[in-house]
């Protein structure tokens, strides 16, 4: 009998260690301390024991019961206090952390760069305060030609100006490199224009250039259509229409089918079904000559797109000025 009590004690200790929650505690109580529990049953069994053993057994059993009851109370208190110590209202707000980010225009330039870099284009930069030579003359703008009127220019004086496009970077690159040349030039450009919802006096451009021994208009089309498919999605339609830039011949403008109406015609596309996305063309032989490339050996294409307009279209921003107001509530959206 005394062995049985010892075994029950060991079982009790073992089970007590395993109690982890209220439910386990209740089954533990039922198992050992309830009316039909192990301890009650041991008291019942004791009645059948020889009389001479009864005092010792009774003492042992009473001790067991007392200890068990204390243990149970302790376990009960521990479970309760555990609950109290760890009680956390997890719905309370988290501690604020700083969130930074790139400007929406930088993000747009990044996407454009990514695509062209995968197509093997380098990325070059150049000065914003440029010489008339790099911005106009070397790009086949004759002095006093009406083509200069198309680009309202901020002048510092007769020789220096704020670049009106990133094309001077093309000139600088070709002057310092032998063909083949394949690069894009992102950067800020300036136009002396009134500021309103649709026009800004400074904005970003990405231009590109590919010159080699056998680069054709067909290459231009394939490169730009690949770019546009990645940037605007595979489902848009494109068209190339004739245009004029002094530094390319033939020149073209590339249109994308209107995002909004899908080409049916709406206010956004002025009922044409098309949106202009970039200007392009074959590098004019006069430009190649100006940088010392032989136009009978080399040919190439160039293109340029306005980043701001692209971003406005992409994110449906209605007013270009918003891009430069740097309202933190706007910047946080992107």
């Amino acid at each position: 009998m005394i062995d049985k009590i010892e075994a029950a004690k060991r079982e009790f200790d073992h089970d007590a260690d395993a109690v982890g929650d209220e439910r386990a505690l209740e089954s533990f109580r039922v198992k050992f301390l309830s009316r039909n529990g192990i301890i009650s049953k041991l008291f019942d069994e004791m009645k059948a024991a020889p009389n001479e053993e009864k005092p010792a057994l009774g003492k042992a059993l009473n001790q067991f019961r007392k200890g068990a009851e204390e243990k149970f109370t302790a376990l009960e208190e521990k479970l309760q206090s555990d609950g109290e110590e760890d009680a956390v209202d997890l719905s309370l707000p988290g501690e604020p952390a700083f969130v930074g980010g790139k400007h929406i225009l930088t993000q747009t330039i990044d996407s454009i760069k990514d695509i062209f870099k995968r197509m093997g284009f380098s990325v070059y930069e150049g000065p914003e305060l440029e010489s008339d030579y790099h911005n106009f003359e070397a790009l086949n703008f004759p002095p006093d030609h009406p083509a200069r009127d198309e680009q309202d220019t901020y002048f510092v004086n007769d020789k220096f100006l704020l670049r009106t496009h990133t094309s001077p970077v093309q000139i600088r690159l070709m002057q310092s490199t032998k063909p083949p040349v394949r690069a894009i030039m992102p950067g800020k450009v300036y136009r002396n224009e009134a500021i309103n919802a649709r026009s800004m006096n400074h904005f970003y451009q990405v231009e590109g250039l590919h010159v080699d021994t056998d680069v054709t208009f067909a290459d231009l089309k394939s490169a730009l259509m690949r770019f546009a498919a990645e940037f605007y999605g595979e489902n848009s339609r494109y068209r190339f229409r004739a245009s004029f830039f002094p530094f390319t011949e033939p020149s073209a403008e590339m249109d994308i089918s209107c995002f909004l109406c899908g080409g049916e015609g709406c206010r956004v596309c002025k009922h044409t079904g098309w949106l202009e996305i970039l200007g392009c063309g074959m590098v004019d032989p006069n430009v190649l000559k100006a940088v010392g490339y032989d136009p009978d050996v080399y040919s190439g294409y160039a293109f340029g797109m306005g980043v701001d307009r692209t971003a406005l279209m992409r994110y449906a921003v209605p007013d270009i000025r918003v891009l430069y107001e740097n309202d933190i509530r706007f910047l946080r959206q992107f």
């Binding site: 930074g100 305060l129 901020y154 245009s243 033939p250 740097n326 933190i328």
Partner: protein
């Protein structure tokens, strides 16, 4: 430029083509059609109607209740016009139509209790005039029910064409027709001149002397005598109205008509007002300072201006605008028509300096047809006689000393494939060239000589001919090639470092901003020697920024205004500083890419578990440290602290690399912030990107992380308040052994409890030995040696340590 499709159809047959065909073809080939106004659509549901009966409106004295027959049925129509009468033919807007002006939709509407089934229109409602005094009464011969567009000739399609600056040949209806004839392979017809000339030669009535043949290579004039100046006939008026020009009188209207027909600007002089009946073409004389143009404006003359003069005085600014002193008036009877070819390089600077752009100057400065002056002068003479009577003098006076020849351009047909990557069939090339007015001397071989008429100022070279062939043939027919491989050339990304900076700063919670590089003089002069613009748009944007400071402060102001007060911002951008007063070369200024960072407002907000704390200069230092670590800068950068920070800063410090200042900044002075309307503390720092680039770590290699435990010891010293932390740390680092890896300050306070002029600085020391686990003895020895050294060197007392 507005182009009327009905007018174009006078010169080229467009039968079987839809409006869309025409618009698409023009747009795709380089004459971009911006806006299309289809009048027929505008006048949908407008018809000629009969006023059958005019009765009284039962509820309104001023309104009439008419019975109107619109050809299909007779309707009740309420009309408020005073001139409506039974028996009139009127312009009737049926239910469902939309007024061309204002866009009001006509519905079946009750007017003062009576239903009106449409509306009888006034001129302004139809957008054909401004009269609203009464309804238009139409020609009684018109058939009831005829669509109004047909009855009034309002069935035109008007195209707004955006002509690129190279295409001066297309600045007329005939020019557009020429492109269409090539695009659709249609016949182009130029009106024939059928003049009935008088017996006396024009030379008897006027004399012409061109003293400057370089700027005026050709001057042609015709003379019409005995003209009656009056209103133009409707056909002429309507042509001009359709393209938005205002009819004036028959002579002026004819010159305008011919300009828009063929692109040759004309000017009509009152021959009797020309002194000596003479035209002299010469440069402005020094005493001729101003000139009154025919719009009655007295204008300053450009020094180089080419003038049309009579025997005594200037009568016109060549190619720009005529003078009031010789213009055609209602009393004029004898007219001299000028049809000249002025050199584009002469007209453009004059028009630009006079800030005067006219239909004439616009065409002359882009280049007109030197071979077309005579045709235009005779065409005008013929139309003047047709519209105002009189007699054309015999022959024209034509001063054309050096006849321009067609340009001979070599053309190798194989070059089409080389440039386009696509072959255009030879027969198509030949057809396109001929339709555009080019001649091919021998089209059988592969190398041709193409004769290009002088009106194509944009075509001199083979490449120009390739473009003509391609744009008419169609860019869309060129198949893109898919190249499998791209040539192997090394790739460079000059923007990569700026991208790393953006990533590093974004990672530590800074937002990128982009500001306007054009600022006011005050803003530009805050931090450098600025460069002014010659032609600024506004004074706010008259200079180039010398630093990113002003843009940053303006941005903070804008955000603080909307109560966004806690900001961590950065900008990367170009700055411009002059080295000399006058910029003559790239050496006279420097353009630098800079990085600005700013913090303002709360470093931490009050939350349920955190106390609010405003940013201070140590947050700025901390952010710069984190930035350097994120950007993996090497340890060549040193901070230098100053008591004064010039005009802009207090709590000022610089980051230097050797002697070069890499960055500078601190707390923006209160009065400077206030000058930007910012009422809170701003911490600003500006760095030079090129210097950062030079300081980046290029030899990053693996270093094994520590294998043995680090040991930390703390000690608090009582120091004189004037002792600088940096001096203490530098001293400790210098005096201690390799075992000491780092010293950090974890507590600092001053107060009465430790005595005036004193401060308590608690330092934490980090010990580590690469060779093995440090013993307590080793650490203690090192630690106590440091304590003793500090006590001696700085006259410090140990307040406690562990």
């Amino acid at each position: 430029m507005k182009i009327s499709l009905n007018w174009v159809k006078q010169y080229v047959d467009l039968d079987g083509l839809t409006m869309k065909d025409v618009v698409d073809a023009l747009t795709m080939s380089g004459l971009e059609v911006g806006d299309v106004v289809d009048q027929t659509a505008r006048y949908d549901k407008f018809v000629v109607a009969d006023v059958v009966e005019k009765g009284k409106h039962p509820n309104a004295d001023r309104l009439a209740l008419c019975k109107v027959n619109d050809g299909a049925e007779t309707l009740d129509v309420v009309c408020g016009a005073p001139n409506v009468e039974a028996g009139q033919k009127v312009a009737f807007a049926q239910v469902g139509s939309k007024l061309p002006r204002g866009g009001h939709k006509i519905t079946k509407a009750k007017i003062r209790g009576v239903v009106s089934n449409g509306m009888i229109c006034a001129e302004d409602e139809l957008d054909i005039g401004d009269d609203h005094s009464g309804i238009i009464v139409l020609d009684p011969k018109l058939k009831t029910g005829t669509p109004l567009a047909d009855a009034l000739g309002l069935n035109d399609v008007l195209l707004e064409i955006e002509t690129t600056p190279n295409r001066s040949d297309a600045l007329s209806h005939y020019g557009v027709a020429r492109d269409l004839s090539a695009l659709f392979d249609r016949k182009l017809t130029k009106p024939t001149i059928a003049l009935t000339e008088g017996k006396t030669p024009a030379k008897k009535f006027a004399e012409i002397a061109v003293l400057d043949p370089e700027h005026c290579p050709r001057y042609t004039a015709t003379v019409v005598r005995g003209v009656e100046i009056k209103d133009s006939p409707d056909w002429l008026k309507n042509r001009l109205i359709s393209i938005g020009a205002r009819p004036i009188n028959n002579v002026v209207d004819v010159t305008n008509f011919v300009l828009h027909e063929i692109g040759q600007p004309l000017h009509a002089f009152d021959l009797d007002r020309l002194a000596g009946k003479k035209i002299v073409v010469r440069k402005r004389k020094p005493e001729e300072k101003t000139f009154v143009t025919l719009d009655s404006q007295e204008r300053k003359l450009d020094d180089e201006a080419l003038m049309i003069c009579d025997a005594e005085r200037p009568v016109a600014v060549a190619g720009v605008m005529g003078g009031e002193n010789s213009e055609v008036t209602p009393e004029t009877t004898n007219v001299l028509i000028e049809s000249a070819f002025f050199n584009p390089r002469s007209v453009r600077p004059t028009a630009r300096k006079m800030a005067l752009s006219t239909d004439s100057s616009y065409r002359f400065e882009r280049g007109t047809d030197p071979d077309g002056t005579r045709w235009a002068a005779e065409r005008a003479a013929q139309l003047i006689v047709e519209t105002g009577g009189g007699e054309v003098a015999k022959g024209a006076i034509d001063v054309y000393p050096k006849k321009m020849k067609p340009k001979r351009v070599k053309f190798r047909s194989a070059q089409i494939k080389r440039i386009l990557g696509y072959e255009i069939p030879k027969k198509d090339v030949v057809r396109i060239f001929r339709k555009l007015g080019f001649e091919i001397d021998d089209a059988r071989g592969n190398d041709w000589t193409v004769l290009v008429p002088p009106f194509r100022h944009d075509i001199d070279r083979e490449i120009d001919l390739i473009e003509e062939a391609a744009r008419i043939y169609g860019y869309d027919l060129i198949t893109p090639v898919e190249r499998v491989a791209v040539p192997m050339i090394s790739t460079v990304d000059q923007t990569a470092f700026a991208d790393e900076i953006r990533a590093a700063l974004s990672g530590i919670g800074f937002r990128e901003i982009l500001c306007n590089p054009l600022v006011s003089e005050r803003e530009a002069e805050l931090s450098g020697k600025s460069i002014p613009l010659q032609n600024p748009g506004t004074v706010d944007m008259s200079r180039l920024r010398t630093s990113l400071f002003a843009g940053m402060l303006s941005t903070i102001k804008r955000n603080v205004n909307v109560n966004e007060r806690s900001l961590r911002l950065f900008e990367i951008g170009a700055t411009f500083n002059a080295r000399k007063d006058e910029i003559k070369s790239f050496d006279d200024f420097f353009e630098e890419r800079r990085l600005a960072i700013a913090m303002t407002g709360d470093a931490s907000k009050k939350t349920w578990r955190t106390e609010k704390r405003a940013y201070d200069v140590f947050d700025l230092k901390g952010a710069l440290g984190a930035f350097s670590a994120a950007l993996r800068l090497d340890n060549s950068l040193r901070d230098c602290y100053y008591d004064s920070g010039g005009r802009l800063f207090d709590h000022y410090f610089e980051t230097k690399r050797g002697k070069t200042v890499v960055g500078y900044g601190g707390r923006v002075k209160r009065e400077v912030a206030e000058s930007f309307d910012v009422d809170q503390e701003v911490f600003f720092f500006e760095l030079l990107i090129d210097e950062l680039f030079a300081a980046r770590k290029t030899d990053t290699r693996y270093a094994a992380p520590p294998r043995y435990p680090k040991v930390f010891k703390d000690a608090a010293f009582l120091l004189d308040a004037s002792v600088k932390f940096e001096d203490v740390r530098n001293f400790i680092e210098k005096e201690s052994s390799d075992l000491l890896k780092a010293v950090t300050l974890f507590d600092l306070f001053e107060g009465e409890s430790i005595g005036a002029g004193k401060k308590s600085a608690a330092l934490s020391f980090e010990f580590y030995d690469e060779g093995g686990t440090l013993t307590d003895d080793e650490v203690e020895k090192e630690f106590f040696s440091i304590i003793e050294n500090v006590k001696t060197r700085f006259n410090a007392a140990l307040r406690g340590g562990s």
